[in-house]
Symmetry: C2
Subunit: 184 residues, 2 copies
Amino acid sequence: MSLPHALLTALVERPGTGAELARRFDRSIGWFWRASHQQIYRELARLEAAKWIRSAPVEDARGRERSYAVLAAGRRELKRWIAEIEDTPRAVRDELMVRLRAEAALGPAGLEAQVRRLIEREEARLKLYREHEQRAFAGRVDTRERRLQHLVVTSGIRMVSLRIEIAKEALEILGMEVGRDGES
Amino acid sequence: MSLPHALLTALVERPGTGAELARRFDRSIGWFWRASHQQIYRELARLEAAKWIRSAPVEDARGRERSYAVLAAGRRELKRWIAEIEDTPRAVRDELMVRLRAEAALGPAGLEAQVRRLIEREEARLKLYREHEQRAFAGRVDTRERRLQHLVVTSGIRMVSLRIEIAKEALEILGMEVGRDGES
DNA sequence: CGGGGCATGTAACCTGTTACATGATTAG
DNA sequence: CTAATCATGTAACAGGTTACATGCCCCG
């Protein structure tokens, strides 16, 4: 389970409030570990109870905004976790593949429109990722730290690109008539 | 949520017992939707309660083995689901990326060994997938149905390959000394 | 000063995981 | 005959989702 450690990482990079973290999760960290604001608040409360982070009311704040920062024990925990053996091989979840296989088993069922929507969404996402890469890294990928950060961003780009490529191939096959060979 | 529909798909492809489904999930469907045997039994009970599948004791069975098969209502439900709008943009979960980003934030913390193990695991998986592709499709990718099935299998291969490629690039960066440029 | 939006939650529920239980079957 | 294995579960819990609640601020 990684949510607490994703949050610790975000807060090591820069302290912030719950809402700000939720926004950052939408912008970049969340590319690889999505979390709703409810999850984030619940987890921040746990991390504070464990004394891995501390919070303080934001000065001049509207409402009850609190800013969170990582404590020494939190850094230790994060460092420990990085090298921890990950024995659970991760839960794979890809609905498109399940649907493709279902359509293969049942015959045409209207998956094409669905896939077109998926392609649109993923292309929008790809555009966003590429813009982020330009903005954040424009030519400056020098240190070990920045290389690692850059690898994470480009990995996102490559994974989304692959998903789009596969979805487009799926479209071609879905367009075929049943029983036809298509090799004509 | 797709587990019920992954199970329906598996049972449309071929009826079977709970344990057999668990094994099939390890072999191929589960590449894209993993499920433990406990989950499978629980979900089979629900699907039967919903009258989407029916079960019968296996003839000459050892123990209380029951074989499940999809009913007409189950096929209708699966067909409906295939074309359903998928508005939840899917929960992305990639621990490696979270760890890379954490190591970028904290400096070297022993991630290299972890990544090496990951590469080994993924390469074993890749080998498995490739063997499966050979065995199941050897040259015979003719009909629409088989093309879809083949796309699912090759997509698995391509996704795992990309993960390995990225992990190997990560290894190179992780091996760098902090503060060095590496462009020497 | 009233309505909409925002930050921070609470509650109920569902999914997925972990640990264990039971009875039958097969292997030695 | 006994031990290991297999199929089928049960129970308890942690993680994740959805719907709603509260109080403050800012805009008009």
